[in-house]
């Protein structure tokens, strides 16, 4: 194996074998997915049988809840009616005759004016059950008051009550669904991921350089290998650690998403199961809101994002951005004598990264902004900003910008590496103090 290969191998394997790497790379995503999975499982599955008592002294409900034509009732929720006042919640909580009921919906005579419906529970119901109860009772009340105060028929009222469905469609592709805000969200998540990967792994390069310098192992290394080999070996080795982490995360989240799709959203995979059906029958179904959102999420994750392009781009931009920044960070590591000296040197270098983060967050609300276009091509910001543009699909027809951005990024990487190598070569053997800019300029000029 060549010396470069040996160095890459050492940098890579010494990091991958660390416990902290294993924990961060494998355990964290498992925990995150497990947590999400668990949370969804709990909210969706915790549907115990619930007895609801509706105290309706005025008889608005007429001992009925709202019922749709197709039987869509939640069989776990049973409604009973009590045609009298319950004086206080204590009565409900303590009296033997109410013990069988879990929830009290109190329709007191102030409800029509202050529109507040107190609902008391013994044990907090699931969100889904809450929505169901609210929806059924609210719809029934609305209907009662509408029919009582106006002359329209029940069917007419139901027709009016049906919501209008606003769809925002892309004019050039009117058949498609609009998921732009979700796409922006995914893009921003990737922008942050790119930002974090570049930042974390470039810092690791800097720390590695400082470590070798402060514990003087550099002297032994430098008598066997060229400084440039040492620097590139470190950069490539650590970059591979980053890619390894990304691939592991990708595989784990792939498995996680499949699991969520098949275990949690099983009944929602078929679009026919959701609101289309409700539209056709003229039903007012607001309580399935949360489920519809979940289905959107499924659609977004599995259809709306061009994953192959997204992931390839992440790899390209991580590599480009990482090489660019890590070369600079390697030079900084060589310029200082301890990590505490790095602060003021690191700040100006990270400024473009932070700027790109700000631009990316701005682009969530304004996908086709001109600033975004420019920053997606400028090498120091492009790795982060371009990720959100790719997710938003705003590159269509302007793919040349993608090419320009990548070419510029790698070109700049070569330039910074060349410069960094010159600083690195001298800096690693300078002990005792932080180098001044004047000295660094001299180093660059040395033969």
């Amino acid at each position: 194996m060549s010396n470069l290969g040996l160095i890459i191998n050492r940098e890579y394997s010494s990091r991958v074998k660390k416990k902290s790497f294993l924990v961060l790379t494998i355990l964290v995503p498992i925990l995150a997915v497990g947590f999400m999975f668990g949370a969804m499982w709990l909210t969706l599955e915790k549907d115990k049988k619930v007895n609801v008592l509706i105290a309706d002294p005025s008889g608005w409900c007429n001992a009925q809840i709202y019922q749709s034509k197709t039987d869509n009732t939640n069989k776990n929720v049973v409604f009973s009616f009590y045609e009298n006042y319950i004086d206080s919640v204590d009565v409900f909580m303590n009296e033997e005759r109410f013990k069988e009921f879990d929830i009290l919906v109190s329709l007191n005579d102030k409800v029509p004016s202050n529109r507040r419906v107190p609902v008391f529970y013994r044990e907090q119901p699931s969100l889904k059950t809450e929505h169901y109860i609210q929806n059924r009772v609210e719809s029934r009340l609305m209907e009662y008051f509408a029919l009582k105060k106006t002359n329209i028929s029940k069917d007419q009222y139901r027709a009016i009550k049906q919501p209008f469905d606003f769809k925002f469609l892309d004019g050039s592709d009117p058949t498609g669904e609009d998921y732009s805000s979700e796409q922006s969200g995914v893009g921003f998540a990737f922008a942050i991921l790119t930002y974090m990967f570049i930042f974390i792994y470039s810092m690791q390069v800097m720390r590695g350089v400082i470590e070798e310098k402060t514990n003087r192992v550099i002297e032994i290394l430098i008598s066997s290998v060229k400084p440039f080999q040492l620097m590139m070996g470190k950069i490539i080795g650590i970059g591979l650690v980053g890619l390894t982490q990304f691939v592991i995360w990708l595989v784990l989240s792939g498995i996680g998403m499949m699991a969520i799709r098949f275990f949690i959203f099983t009944d929602m995979n078929d679009p026919g199961n959701w609101n289309v059906d409700a539209m056709n029958t003229g039903m007012v179904e607001t309580n399935f809101e949360s489920q519809t959102q979940s289905s959107d999420l499924v659609y977004l994750f599995f259809e709306a994002i061009n994953w192959p392009l997204m992931l390839t781009s992440f790899v390209i931009y991580f590599i480009g951005g990482f090489l660019l920044y890590s070369a600079i960070f390697a030079a900084i590591g060589a310029m200082v004598d301890s990590e505490t000296d790095t602060q003021q040197l690191v700040l100006p270098v990270t400024a473009p990264l932070i700027l790109s983060y700000i631009v990316a967050s701005m682009m969530i609300s304004n996908p086709s902004s001109e600033i975004g276009t420019w920053f997606s091509m400028i090498p120091f910001t492009s790795p982060v900003v371009m990720m959100i543009r790719i997710a938003q699909g705003s590159l269509e027809g302007e793919f040349w910008q993608y090419i320009v951005s990548v070419v510029l990024l790698f070109g700049t990487f070569l330039a910074t590496t060349w410069l960094a190598a010159k600083i690195y070569r001298i800096g690693i053997l300078m002990y005792g103090k932080k180098a001044s800019w004047k000295e660094v300029m001299k180093w660059i000029k040395y033969k």
Partner: protein, 311 residues
């Protein structure tokens, strides 16, 4: 035969001249001592020889040819500022350095086993460096320097940080390597070891070469014509008998009736003249020529004065 030749090397750092027209030459199979006070430029010179930094002018020849980066693998270099990866295991680390020097994995493993057994440190193989003491780490560093059997060894302060036992161990290894034909250049502050093992030396002070040559020649150069005489009798009587031909430069009372006097010859007087002068006054027990120690030479050369003194 000459193995290493340094010709007119000069090196200037930002505001300070590290090396000023240094020329030295070392012979194959000898141990060459590079001496000088802290900051004299030894490490700068060694780094130039090792191609870690370049000189502003001058050149380095290895076996008569200008040295190149590729020659570095023929050199074993133990830097003064040496370290190891703290989190890495001893065995892995030694293997890594050996392979960077161009050895194959199997060859390196085999040689490492030999050296680890020899230094009785095989049990450390799977320990991390941070668990080792400084002396232990230095043994490992020494092994990684000599493992690939270089023709030329450059050791910058090889004894610093070692206890006397380990210093002896390293010293005997250096001598054994010399017997096997390795040429060695070492820099050290340990003047006793210079006397014990060096064949020739060069002394650098304030970036200039002050003295160089074989140990014998250098000592002759600093010979100050001083004799020590041990005698029985009164110091007063001894001093009175010297008259003007000799300087009594120091004296030491061994017991009530025995003393040592250090005498510097003057006016071309010889040892016989001295004996004649003092014999009537005291009973002479022994007389020796005082040969300057490397320690003396070092101090004298660095502080700028030439001429004799004794320990």
């Amino acid at each position: 035969m000459e193995i290493l030749r340094v010709e007119n090397i000069a090196k200037q750092y930002a505001n300070h001249k590290a090396l000023d027209d240094i020329s030295i030459s070392t012979q194959e199979g000898e141990i060459f001592g590079l001496l000088g006070p802290n900051g004299a430029g030894k490490t700068s010179l060694i780094r130039i020889i090792n191609q870690i930094t370049g000189p502003d002018s001058g050149r380095v020849l290895l076996n008569g040819k200008e040295i190149t980066r590729e020659d570095i693998s023929k050199i074993g270099y133990l830097p003064e500022e040496r370290g190891l990866y703290k989190k890495m295991k001893v065995g892995e680390q030694a293997l890594y350095f050996a392979r960077l020097k161009g050895m194959s994995k199997s060859e390196a493993k085999q040689k490492l086993k030999f050296w680890f057994d020899k230094f009785e440190i095989s049990s450390w193989t799977n320990k991390k460096v941070e668990e080792l003491s400084k002396g232990m780490a230095q043994k490992i560093q020494f092994i990684t320097t000599v493992l690939h059997e270089p023709k030329l060894l450059i050791l910058d302060e090889p004894f610093s940080g070692f206890d006397p036992i380990n210093t002896e161990l390293i010293k005997s290894e250096i001598l054994r390597l010399k017997e096997n034909g390795t040429s060695i250049m070492l820099s050290t502050h340990n003047m006793n070891s210079v006397e014990e093992i060096c064949d020739s030396i060069a002394l650098i002070n304030k970036s200039k070469l002050i003295v160089s040559g074989s140990l014998e020649d250098v000592k002759k150069q600093y010979d100050s014509d001083v004799y020590s005489i041990q005698f029985k009798g009164m110091m007063m009587a001894f001093a009175n008998s010297l008259w003007t031909g000799y300087d009594l430069i120091d004296k030491k009372q061994l017991d009530d009736n025995t003393a040592i006097a250090y005498i510097k010859m003057k006016n071309g007087n010889k040892i016989n003249d001295l004996l004649k002068a003092v014999m009537p006054s005291v009973e002479i027990e022994a007389i020796h020529k005082v040969i300057p120690s490397m320690n003396d030479i070092f101090i004298k050369a660095v502080s700028g004065e030439k001429g004799g003194n004794h320990e």
